[in-house]
Amino acid sequence: MTSLLLAIAVGSLFATGTYMIMRRGQIKLILGLALLSHGVNLLLFGSGKLTAGRPPIFLDKKHYTETLAAFQPADPLPQALILTAIVISFGITAFVIVLVNRRHTVTATDYVHGELVPLLREGDPFDFSEPSDIDQYDWLAYEVDEVYDSDDLPLGFPPTPQSEQDESAAMEEESYRWP
Protein backbone atom coordinates (compact mmCIF):
# COMPACT_ATOMS: atom_id res chain seq x y z
CA MET A 1 0.00 0.00 0.00
CA THR A 2 2.72 2.41 0.98
CA SER A 3 4.71 1.53 -2.08
CA LEU A 4 1.66 2.05 -4.29
CA LEU A 5 1.16 5.52 -2.84
CA LEU A 6 4.83 6.24 -3.33
CA ALA A 7 4.66 5.08 -6.94
CA ILE A 8 1.65 7.29 -7.59
CA ALA A 9 3.44 10.25 -6.02
CA VAL A 10 6.54 9.66 -8.13
CA GLY A 11 4.47 9.35 -11.27
CA SER A 12 2.46 12.48 -10.67
CA LEU A 13 5.60 14.47 -9.80
CA PHE A 14 7.21 13.35 -13.04
CA ALA A 15 4.09 14.16 -15.03
CA THR A 16 3.68 17.65 -13.59
CA GLY A 17 7.39 18.31 -13.90
CA THR A 18 7.44 17.31 -17.54
CA TYR A 19 4.36 19.40 -18.24
CA MET A 20 5.90 22.43 -16.58
CA ILE A 21 9.16 22.04 -18.51
CA MET A 22 7.29 21.95 -21.80
CA ARG A 23 5.87 25.41 -21.23
CA ARG A 24 7.64 28.49 -22.45
CA GLY A 25 7.69 30.55 -19.28
CA GLN A 26 10.94 30.30 -17.43
CA ILE A 27 9.59 30.40 -13.91
CA LYS A 28 7.52 27.38 -14.86
CA LEU A 29 10.64 25.81 -16.21
CA ILE A 30 12.38 26.20 -12.88
CA LEU A 31 9.36 24.82 -11.06
CA GLY A 32 9.25 21.90 -13.44
CA LEU A 33 12.90 21.10 -12.86
CA ALA A 34 12.36 21.24 -9.11
CA LEU A 35 9.35 18.91 -9.35
CA LEU A 36 11.30 16.47 -11.49
CA SER A 37 14.15 16.37 -9.02
CA HIS A 38 11.70 15.77 -6.19
CA GLY A 39 10.20 12.93 -8.17
CA VAL A 40 13.59 11.34 -8.60
CA ASN A 41 14.35 11.79 -4.92
CA LEU A 42 11.13 10.01 -3.99
CA LEU A 43 11.98 7.23 -6.42
CA LEU A 44 15.40 6.82 -4.81
CA PHE A 45 13.69 6.78 -1.44
CA GLY A 46 11.43 4.01 -2.62
CA SER A 47 14.31 1.94 -3.86
CA GLY A 48 15.27 1.13 -0.29
CA LYS A 49 13.24 -0.55 2.40
CA LEU A 50 10.35 1.55 3.66
CA THR A 51 10.51 1.65 7.43
CA ALA A 52 8.97 4.01 9.92
CA GLY A 53 10.67 5.40 13.01
CA ARG A 54 13.83 3.30 12.83
CA PRO A 55 16.74 5.54 11.92
CA PRO A 56 20.00 3.96 10.74
CA ILE A 57 21.92 5.43 13.66
CA PHE A 58 23.56 3.55 16.48
CA LEU A 59 24.32 5.39 19.65
CA ASP A 60 25.77 2.31 21.28
CA LYS A 61 28.62 1.42 19.02
CA LYS A 62 29.78 -1.50 21.11
CA HIS A 63 26.70 -3.65 20.53
CA TYR A 64 25.65 -2.63 17.08
CA THR A 65 25.29 -6.17 15.70
CA GLU A 66 22.66 -7.02 18.30
CA THR A 67 20.93 -3.75 17.63
CA LEU A 68 20.99 -4.46 13.94
CA ALA A 69 19.43 -7.89 14.32
CA ALA A 70 16.76 -6.82 16.80
CA PHE A 71 15.95 -3.43 15.43
CA GLN A 72 15.99 -3.72 11.62
CA PRO A 73 16.90 -0.08 11.04
CA ALA A 74 16.29 1.78 7.81
CA ASP A 75 18.59 1.36 4.85
CA PRO A 76 20.99 4.33 5.03
CA LEU A 77 22.13 4.24 1.41
CA PRO A 78 19.00 5.71 -0.24
CA GLN A 79 19.10 8.49 2.33
CA ALA A 80 22.68 9.26 1.44
CA LEU A 81 21.82 9.18 -2.25
CA ILE A 82 18.87 11.49 -1.74
CA LEU A 83 20.98 13.89 0.29
CA THR A 84 23.56 14.02 -2.51
CA ALA A 85 20.87 14.42 -5.14
CA ILE A 86 19.29 17.22 -3.12
CA VAL A 87 22.63 19.01 -2.82
CA ILE A 88 23.19 18.74 -6.54
CA SER A 89 19.70 19.85 -7.47
CA PHE A 90 20.03 22.73 -5.01
CA GLY A 91 23.15 23.91 -6.78
CA ILE A 92 21.68 23.52 -10.22
CA THR A 93 18.41 25.19 -9.30
CA ALA A 94 20.39 28.11 -7.89
CA PHE A 95 22.33 28.33 -11.13
CA VAL A 96 19.21 28.14 -13.29
CA ILE A 97 17.50 30.84 -11.27
CA VAL A 98 20.46 33.17 -11.66
CA LEU A 99 20.70 32.30 -15.35
CA VAL A 100 17.03 32.98 -15.99
CA ASN A 101 17.28 36.21 -14.07
CA ARG A 102 20.36 37.26 -16.01
CA ARG A 103 18.66 36.35 -19.25
CA HIS A 104 15.69 38.39 -18.21
CA THR A 105 17.85 41.44 -17.59
CA VAL A 106 19.75 40.98 -20.82
CA THR A 107 16.97 40.20 -23.26
CA ALA A 108 13.99 41.55 -21.34
CA THR A 109 11.88 38.53 -22.05
CA ASP A 110 10.77 35.48 -20.20
CA TYR A 111 10.51 33.19 -23.21
CA VAL A 112 13.04 30.98 -24.90
CA HIS A 113 12.88 31.31 -28.64
CA GLY A 114 13.43 28.51 -31.07
CA GLU A 115 16.96 28.22 -32.33
CA LEU A 116 16.01 27.79 -35.96
CA VAL A 117 13.36 30.49 -36.10
CA PRO A 118 15.54 33.03 -37.93
CA LEU A 119 16.58 30.41 -40.45
CA LEU A 120 12.99 29.44 -41.09
CA ARG A 121 11.93 33.03 -41.32
CA GLU A 122 14.46 33.70 -44.01
CA GLY A 123 12.75 31.05 -46.06
CA ASP A 124 15.55 29.22 -47.78
CA PRO A 125 18.02 27.81 -45.26
CA PHE A 126 20.56 27.23 -48.02
CA ASP A 127 20.59 30.86 -49.04
CA PHE A 128 23.59 32.29 -47.23
CA SER A 129 23.88 35.45 -49.26
CA GLU A 130 21.81 37.68 -47.06
CA PRO A 131 23.57 38.40 -43.79
CA SER A 132 21.39 38.31 -40.76
CA ASP A 133 22.32 40.12 -37.61
CA ILE A 134 21.07 37.27 -35.47
CA ASP A 135 24.20 35.38 -36.35
CA GLN A 136 26.47 38.29 -35.66
CA TYR A 137 28.98 37.64 -33.03
CA ASP A 138 27.99 39.16 -29.79
CA TRP A 139 30.68 37.58 -27.74
CA LEU A 140 33.11 39.66 -29.73
CA ALA A 141 31.31 42.78 -28.66
CA TYR A 142 33.41 43.13 -25.59
CA GLU A 143 36.54 41.24 -26.23
CA VAL A 144 38.23 44.63 -25.96
CA ASP A 145 39.98 43.67 -22.86
CA GLU A 146 42.11 46.72 -22.45
CA VAL A 147 38.95 48.50 -21.42
CA TYR A 148 38.64 46.28 -18.37
CA ASP A 149 42.24 46.66 -17.39
CA SER A 150 41.68 48.76 -14.32
CA ASP A 151 41.15 47.06 -11.02
CA ASP A 152 38.60 49.47 -9.67
CA LEU A 153 35.81 48.21 -11.89
CA PRO A 154 32.85 46.89 -9.93
CA LEU A 155 32.39 43.17 -9.97
CA GLY A 156 29.68 42.40 -12.44
CA PHE A 157 28.89 42.39 -16.07
CA PRO A 158 30.39 44.83 -18.51
CA PRO A 159 28.11 47.24 -20.26
CA THR A 160 27.20 46.15 -23.73
CA PRO A 161 27.19 49.03 -26.18
CA GLN A 162 23.73 50.52 -26.11
CA SER A 163 22.99 50.25 -29.82
CA GLU A 164 23.86 46.58 -30.02
CA GLN A 165 21.84 45.83 -26.96
CA ASP A 166 18.70 47.32 -28.44
CA GLU A 167 19.33 45.67 -31.76
CA SER A 168 19.70 42.21 -30.38
CA ALA A 169 16.71 42.50 -28.09
CA ALA A 170 14.54 43.85 -30.87
CA MET A 171 15.79 41.12 -33.15
CA GLU A 172 14.86 38.52 -30.60
CA GLU A 173 11.36 39.90 -30.34
CA GLU A 174 10.98 39.98 -34.07
CA SER A 175 12.23 36.47 -34.49
CA TYR A 176 9.78 35.25 -31.95
CA ARG A 177 6.77 36.73 -33.71
CA TRP A 178 7.64 34.86 -36.80
CA PRO A 179 4.80 32.48 -37.69
Binding site: I57, G91, H104, T105, D110, G156, P159, A170, E173
Partner: protein, 173 residues
Protein backbone atom coordinates in the same frame (compact mmCIF):
# COMPACT_ATOMS: atom_id res chain seq x y z
CA UNK B 1 14.46 50.10 4.30
CA UNK B 2 15.34 47.29 6.65
CA UNK B 3 12.63 46.35 9.06
CA UNK B 4 12.97 47.29 12.69
CA UNK B 5 11.79 43.95 14.03
CA UNK B 6 14.11 42.17 11.70
CA UNK B 7 17.05 44.19 12.97
CA UNK B 8 16.09 43.34 16.54
CA UNK B 9 15.67 39.68 15.74
CA UNK B 10 18.93 39.72 13.89
CA UNK B 11 20.84 40.65 17.03
CA UNK B 12 19.36 37.72 18.90
CA UNK B 13 19.18 35.10 16.20
CA UNK B 14 22.47 35.47 14.36
CA UNK B 15 24.72 34.38 17.23
CA UNK B 16 22.30 31.59 18.06
CA UNK B 17 22.24 30.33 14.49
CA UNK B 18 26.03 30.44 14.24
CA UNK B 19 26.39 28.56 17.52
CA UNK B 20 23.86 25.99 16.33
CA UNK B 21 25.81 25.64 13.11
CA UNK B 22 29.02 24.92 14.98
CA UNK B 23 27.19 22.45 17.23
CA UNK B 24 25.74 20.64 14.20
CA UNK B 25 29.16 20.58 12.57
CA UNK B 26 30.83 18.99 15.59
CA UNK B 27 28.20 16.36 16.30
CA UNK B 28 27.88 15.45 12.65
CA UNK B 29 30.03 12.37 12.54
CA UNK B 30 27.95 10.10 14.73
CA UNK B 31 24.62 11.88 14.96
CA UNK B 32 22.39 13.84 12.61
CA UNK B 33 24.20 16.96 11.52
CA UNK B 34 27.35 17.47 9.53
CA UNK B 35 29.09 19.95 7.33
CA UNK B 36 26.39 20.51 4.75
CA UNK B 37 23.60 21.15 7.20
CA UNK B 38 25.81 23.30 9.40
CA UNK B 39 26.85 25.28 6.35
CA UNK B 40 23.27 25.90 5.37
CA UNK B 41 22.50 26.97 8.93
CA UNK B 42 25.35 29.49 8.90
CA UNK B 43 24.24 30.71 5.49
CA UNK B 44 20.78 31.24 6.95
CA UNK B 45 22.40 33.47 9.58
CA UNK B 46 24.08 35.48 6.84
CA UNK B 47 20.82 35.67 4.91
CA UNK B 48 19.22 37.14 8.02
CA UNK B 49 21.99 39.72 8.02
CA UNK B 50 21.34 40.47 4.35
CA UNK B 51 17.63 40.91 4.95
CA UNK B 52 18.01 43.10 7.99
CA UNK B 53 21.03 45.21 7.15
CA UNK B 54 20.91 45.32 3.37
CA UNK B 55 23.15 43.40 1.06
CA UNK B 56 25.70 46.17 0.51
CA UNK B 57 26.89 46.10 4.09
CA UNK B 58 27.09 42.35 4.20
CA UNK B 59 28.89 42.33 0.89
CA UNK B 60 31.40 44.84 2.21
CA UNK B 61 32.03 42.91 5.40
CA UNK B 62 32.19 39.29 4.24
CA UNK B 63 32.03 39.50 0.46
CA UNK B 64 35.79 39.54 -0.16
CA UNK B 65 36.31 36.35 1.80
CA UNK B 66 33.73 34.19 0.06
CA UNK B 67 35.85 32.99 -2.86
CA UNK B 68 38.74 32.37 -0.51
CA UNK B 69 36.33 30.45 1.73
CA UNK B 70 35.36 28.15 -1.13
CA UNK B 71 39.00 27.58 -1.97
CA UNK B 72 40.00 27.01 1.62
CA UNK B 73 37.16 24.57 2.18
CA UNK B 74 37.99 22.56 -0.91
CA UNK B 75 41.66 22.52 -0.01
CA UNK B 76 40.92 21.36 3.53
CA UNK B 77 38.59 18.62 2.31
CA UNK B 78 41.01 17.27 -0.26
CA UNK B 79 43.94 17.51 2.18
CA UNK B 80 42.03 15.37 4.67
CA UNK B 81 41.88 12.82 1.87
CA UNK B 82 45.62 13.10 1.37
CA UNK B 83 46.12 12.54 5.10
CA UNK B 84 44.71 9.07 4.60
CA UNK B 85 47.73 8.30 2.43
CA UNK B 86 49.74 8.12 5.66
CA UNK B 87 47.64 5.09 6.47
CA UNK B 88 48.02 3.59 3.04
CA UNK B 89 44.83 4.49 1.20
CA UNK B 90 43.43 7.75 -0.06
CA UNK B 91 40.63 9.01 2.21
CA UNK B 92 41.39 6.45 4.91
CA UNK B 93 40.21 7.89 8.19
CA UNK B 94 42.78 8.76 10.86
CA UNK B 95 41.63 9.28 14.42
CA UNK B 96 43.27 10.94 17.41
CA UNK B 97 42.01 11.26 20.96
CA UNK B 98 42.39 14.75 22.31
CA UNK B 99 42.26 15.70 25.97
CA UNK B 100 40.49 18.99 26.14
CA UNK B 101 40.04 20.60 29.52
CA UNK B 102 36.36 21.01 30.52
CA UNK B 103 35.17 18.81 27.65
CA UNK B 104 37.04 15.63 28.36
CA UNK B 105 37.86 13.19 25.60
CA UNK B 106 37.33 14.39 22.05
CA UNK B 107 37.77 12.11 19.09
CA UNK B 108 39.17 14.18 16.27
CA UNK B 109 39.79 12.59 12.93
CA UNK B 110 40.12 13.31 9.27
CA UNK B 111 36.35 12.91 8.69
CA UNK B 112 35.77 15.84 11.02
CA UNK B 113 38.33 17.87 9.10
CA UNK B 114 36.63 16.87 5.86
CA UNK B 115 33.34 18.04 7.33
CA UNK B 116 34.95 21.33 8.23
CA UNK B 117 35.97 21.75 4.59
CA UNK B 118 32.44 20.93 3.44
CA UNK B 119 31.09 23.45 5.94
CA UNK B 120 33.34 26.20 4.60
CA UNK B 121 32.45 25.44 0.99
CA UNK B 122 28.73 25.31 1.65
CA UNK B 123 28.63 28.46 3.71
CA UNK B 124 30.66 30.40 1.15
CA UNK B 125 28.77 29.14 -1.88
CA UNK B 126 25.35 29.62 -0.33
CA UNK B 127 26.18 33.10 0.94
CA UNK B 128 27.61 34.25 -2.36
CA UNK B 129 24.55 32.86 -4.13
CA UNK B 130 22.26 34.71 -1.74
CA UNK B 131 24.27 37.90 -2.16
CA UNK B 132 24.12 37.55 -5.93
CA UNK B 133 20.39 36.97 -5.89
CA UNK B 134 19.81 39.96 -3.65
CA UNK B 135 21.70 42.17 -6.09
CA UNK B 136 19.78 40.75 -9.02
CA UNK B 137 16.47 41.26 -7.27
CA UNK B 138 17.51 44.84 -6.60
CA UNK B 139 18.08 45.47 -10.29
CA UNK B 140 14.93 43.62 -11.30
CA UNK B 141 12.73 45.49 -8.84
CA UNK B 142 9.53 47.00 -10.28
CA UNK B 143 10.01 50.44 -11.74
CA UNK B 144 8.67 53.46 -9.91
CA UNK B 145 6.39 54.47 -12.79
CA UNK B 146 4.48 51.24 -12.37
CA UNK B 147 5.19 49.56 -15.67
CA UNK B 148 4.54 45.85 -15.35
CA UNK B 149 7.66 43.74 -15.17
CA UNK B 150 7.87 41.52 -18.23
CA UNK B 151 8.83 38.63 -16.03
CA UNK B 152 5.43 38.65 -14.43
CA UNK B 153 3.33 39.16 -17.53
CA UNK B 154 2.21 35.80 -18.73
CA UNK B 155 0.84 36.82 -22.09
CA UNK B 156 2.42 35.60 -25.27
CA UNK B 157 3.27 39.08 -26.44
CA UNK B 158 5.85 40.61 -24.18
CA UNK B 159 5.61 44.19 -23.19
CA UNK B 160 7.46 46.36 -25.70
CA UNK B 161 8.38 48.80 -22.98
CA UNK B 162 10.38 46.06 -21.29
CA UNK B 163 13.33 46.77 -23.56
CA UNK B 164 13.46 50.41 -22.61
CA UNK B 165 13.13 49.66 -18.90
CA UNK B 166 15.85 47.14 -19.14
CA UNK B 167 18.23 49.51 -20.85
CA UNK B 168 17.64 52.01 -18.07
CA UNK B 169 18.60 49.39 -15.56
CA UNK B 170 21.78 48.72 -17.44
CA UNK B 171 22.64 52.40 -17.65
CA UNK B 172 22.26 52.75 -13.96
CA UNK B 173 24.72 49.99 -13.41
Amino acid sequence: MPELYLRLLNRILTPLLLLLAIYLLLRGHNLPGGGFIAGLMAAAAFELQILSRGHERVRRSIGPYLNSGIGLGLAIAICSGFAGLLNGVFFKGLWFDLHVPLLGELAVGTPVIFDLGVFLVVVSVATSYLLGLSRVSDSAAPNPDGAPSPELSDSFETDPTGVADDSRVRNKR
